[in-house]
């Protein structure tokens, strides 16, 4: 991917993505029109659903949190030119880390400490699920795309086995563990607000959101301010130059995949410690995959990833409202809209560039002999 060097930056990273988004919404509107609904009413329901109704913003930000984690996970790997498709599995296994820590310690240790350990558990387990494909890529040359995809399946199978046979709460049918003891978990924001005397509508938004923002800043620092980040970016742009610079390619790949897996694993703290309070089947719900689109749209920069996560969070939440409001608009329709957004802002991200370049040159361009 290369950015145009004709048009200024505010056009290429500000205006063009908005135009892409607008186009995606226009085409989505057409589809809604064709199934016999009013696209303008649909969009207003969606926006209200995502931002306006009581608790809507909380829900949107709750989804946003997941996308930030998985988006950053994919983005870090991208900086080393590794395509980590395994965010889903890494998040899932991260959940195992949370679950095991809580189930083992929650009856003996204070809840606060267990929560801290559980957060570490999510990172470490996620990291392990990233390290293995990383090692296979670095030392054995197995392509990371293939291995991470396979590891998603392995993670799913492993979790089914464990949840059905091993750590299921005895005496019940649904494949879930017992609830974690009270005192374990991340406080939901609306409860926190009540302590502060503020009245907020109930929503699953919890402290994980703050963790996500902190991690985003840390991500920026790691990639652009540390020697390690420098080595990662060198490797990502040019492996041959990295070798020339004496950078150890294989260990860099393994460490990147460890951090990437750890970031994805953090999805588990939002879902399990923040909301469900137990380990359950399929809690990752595709967030790992959507993270790829988020990283792509956010151009692998934490700020961009935050904005893209917000967009996808709003789509998830607003989409749920659409599903409620219109009988003819189903969950699949929402997926279609998401797909169109990914299409226009990911695959067709540079489609409008020539057009904008021409327009820009026409109004601002002077053909100097530069």
């Amino acid at each position: 991917m290369s950015d145009s060097n004709i048009i200024p930056k505010w056009l290429s990273v500000g205006v063009i993505p908005l135009m892409n988004l607008f186009l995606a919404f226009c085409v989505s509107g057409l589809f809604i029109f064709f199934i016999g609904e009013n696209p303008f009413r649909a969009i207003s329901v969606m926006i209200k659903g995502a931002f306006y109704y009581p608790g809507a913003i909380g829900y949107t930000l709750y989804y946003t949190t997941n996308f930030i984690f998985t988006g950053l996970a994919v983005a870090l790997a991208f900086h080393a030119r590794l395509f980590n498709i395994g965010g889903e599995g890494q998040a899932y296994v991260g959940g195992l880390g949370v679950g095991l820590v809580c189930l083992v310690f929650d009856q003996y240790v204070v809840g606060f400490l267990v929560t801290i350990l559980a957060i570490l558990g999510s990172v470490i387990f996620g990291a392990i699920w990233g390290i293995i494909p990383g090692y296979l890529q670095a030392k054995r040359g197995s392509h990371i795309v293939i291995t991470t995809i396979m590891f998603n399946f392995i993670a799913a199978a492993l979790m089914v086995y464990l949840l059905v046979n091993v750590i299921i709460e005895p005496g019940q049918m649904s494949p879930e563990t017992r609830d974690f003891e009270s005192g374990v978990g991340l406080v939901q924001i609306h409860i926190l607000a009540k302590y502060l005397g503020l009245d907020m509508a109930m929503s699953p938004l919890n402290l994980s959101f703050i963790v996500a923002l902190t991690v985003s800043v840390g991500f920026w620092f790691l990639v652009w301010r540390t020697k390690f980040g420098y080595e990662v970016r060198s490797l990502g742009h040019s492996e041959t130059a990295a070798i020339y610079a004496g950078i150890k390619v294989s260990s860099t790949i393994i460490i990147v995949m460890a951090i990437s897996g750890g970031l994805a694993g953090l999805v588990a703290i939002n879902e399990l410690l923040g909301v469900h309070n137990k380990l359950l089947l399929g809690f990752t719900a595709g967030y790992g995959f959507t993270g790829i689109a988020v990283a792509l749209m956010g151009r692998n920069h934490p700020f961009g990833i935050f904005l893209a996560s917000l967009l996808f969070g709003a789509l998830y939440q607003g989409g749920t409202e659409l599903d409620f409001e219109f009988s003819s608009i189903t969950r699949e329709m929402v997926l279609l809209i998401q797909g169109l957004i990914i299409l226009f802002s990911g695959a067709l991200a540079y489609m409008l560039n020539p057009l904008v370049e021409r327009a820009y040159l026409k109004y601002y361009g002077n053909y100097s002999n530069a």
Partner: protein, 525 residues
């Protein structure tokens, strides 16, 4: 000094002897890429049956102009006349149909096909291969004899020497009916002997009425083969000459826009103790080819040792091993009294710690991370040094202080620390790499192709910097495919052919022809 600015524009065109028949005439060709004007109001006349040279530095617009003529680019303005008729060349197919053939710098051949299959590509003669081959073979044999294009039609391309591959390219163009032949830097990969052979072919083509446009940066070649020559600079044709009435100095002056020194002042210096000793080094590539065979030499303080050879005879692998990019497989290297044995821990990081700096042959692939800013590239390989970091963090202020001095002292233009290195010209990229490596105060500097794709102005500067480093006592190993460069910079020259050292000589005793013979493996000295 003549004021060459007066020659700007197209005035000199009219002073050329007007030939009766023009094969090519370009009128007011302008081509822009966004803000960048690659060709600005270019006029060019080439008489039929002549060899016309186009010289100019990288980025002067030579390739753009030829790509326009060949139909790869569409000009924004201007007209192309072929044999007096205005034509619209909007695709390579069209230009081939109009009788234009192009031999690219990097050959466009299918390596697994035979010479015949490659030569007939694009004009197969018949729908069925068998009958087509017979038909084309006849025609090709005729062409081959007529023009002295000696090829083996049965051979597989990947087994043939580059010289023959080039003849196949020319045959291919002629087979498609080319009356005008454009050659882009045709001698870059040839030995001096092969170059002489190519020029004989070009002369016989000219005799048969073929018009040839030769793009090159080697002024000596322009002087020896062309009839007329155009100089391009900054997207414009700045001067036209009849070759016999000009000199390399005048051409260089026009290319650069100021007077240039083509000769180099070598500092007289007594060489010191050996700092690099290479003993019986052999190397097998990943494909199992013996790319280095029993290489031994030593390099002394304050000495420049040149390694001459046609590209691909093991020089690159030798540089890779010495700089720690490749593992040493057999033999022994001693760097500043430290000995490296086969399969020992030896990498670029360690090489730098031992005082070995490396200006790699391919600055795009190795020397620079192109999307990185200058300040990031200025510490590539040295980013762990305490000068640029504190703990695990990069110290941006220190880096900026360093790079600001660097671009200033080594004349990297534009003098900016925050521009992507990929946007610099080749010469300035090379200056940046060289500056970085020199600033590390190396004991040994390995230099590969220091002036490949570098403009004359920058070449002058790079040679100066190398000489300055030499006089400080640094040992320099210079690998280059440019014989002139090797001969004028080195104190001692070794010649490599097929992975072996086939000769060694003092540069004062060396002649181009002797070296050429050694390079082609014909003679051992």
């Amino acid at each position: 000094m003549k004021n060459i600015e007066n020659k700007e524009g197209n005035e000199t065109i009219d002073s050329l002897p007007s030939s009766t028949k023009l094969a090519i005439e370009l009128k007011n060709i302008t081509k822009r890429f966004g803000h960048v004007v690659a060709n600005s109001d270019v006029n060019l006349k080439v008489s039929a049956g002549t060899i016309h040279g186009i010289v100019g530095e990288n980025g002067a617009g030579k390739s753009t102009l030829m790509n326009i003529l060949f139909g790869l680019y569409k000009p924004d303005n201007g007209t192309i006349f072929l044999n007096g008729q205005a034509v619209d060349v909007n695709s390579p197919e069209k230009s081939i149909a109009l009788g234009i053939g192009m031999v690219h710098q990097h050959f466009m051949l299918v390596p697994t096909f035979t010479v015949l299959e490659n030569a007939m590509l694009g004009n197969e003669g018949s729908m069925f291969l068998q009958s087509g081959e017979e038909l084309v073979l006849d025609r090709l044999k005729g062409l081959s004899e007529n023009y002295g294009l000696d090829v083996d039609f049965e051979a597989i391309i990947s087994d043939t020497p580059v010289g023959m591959q080039q003849r196949v390219e020319i045959l291919k163009a002629l087979n498609r009916g080319a009356k005008i032949l454009i050659l882009d830097e045709p001698t870059g990969v040839l030995t001096p002997q092969e170059t002489i052979g190519l020029f004989d072919i070009l002369r016989s083509l000219r005799e048969k009425g073929v018009t040839i446009v030769l793009i090159t940066h080697k002024l000596k070649e322009i002087m020896s083969i062309t009839d007329t020559v155009s100089v391009m600079r900054g997207g414009k044709v700045v001067a036209n000459f009849s070759t016999e009435k000009t000199s390399p100095e005048e051409l260089a002056e026009n290319m650069v826009g100021r007077k240039v020194l083509l000769s180099i002042k070598k500092p007289t210096l007594k060489v010191g103790n050996p700092v690099l000793e290479v003993k019986n080094v052999s190397h097998e590539s990943k494909d199992g080819v013996n790319v280095l065979k029993d290489i031994s030499f030593d390099l002394r303080q304050g000495e420049i040792l040149g390694i001459a050879g046609v590209a691909g005879n093991g020089q690159s692998e030798l540089l890779d091993i010495l700089s720690g990019i490749e593992t040493l497989q057999r033999g022994q290297i001693t760097v500043n009294d430290k000995t490296i044995l086969p399969y020992q821990d030896w990498n670029s990081k360690k090489a730098r710690e031992f005082g070995v700096a490396h200006v790699p042959e391919d600055r795009h692939k190795r020397g620079l991370v192109l999307p990185f800013y200058n300040y990031e590239n200025s510490i590539l390989g040295y980013h762990r040094n305490e000068e640029y970091s504190s703990g695990f963090l990069m110290d941006k202020r220190k880096i900026f202080n360093f790079v600001d001095d660097l671009v200033e002292n080594f004349d990297v233009r534009p003098r900016s620390s925050s521009i992507s290195s990929g946007k610099l010209s080749g010469g300035n990229q090379q200056k940046l790499v060289l500056a970085r490596e020199i600033e590390s105060n190396p004991k040994i500097l390995l230099v590969g192709q220091p002036t490949r794709g570098v403009d004359i102005g920058a070449i002058e500067r790079i040679y100066e910097d190398l000489m300055k480093l030499k006089s400080k006592g640094t040992a320099i190993l210079l690998v280059s495919v440019e014989l002139d460069e090797i001969m004028s910079l080195s104190d001692r020259i070794i010649v490599m052919n097929q992975g072996s050292i086939v000769g060694e000589t003092n540069s004062s005793d060396a002649t181009e022809l002797d070296l050429g013979k050694m390079m082609s493996g014909l003679e051992k000295v």
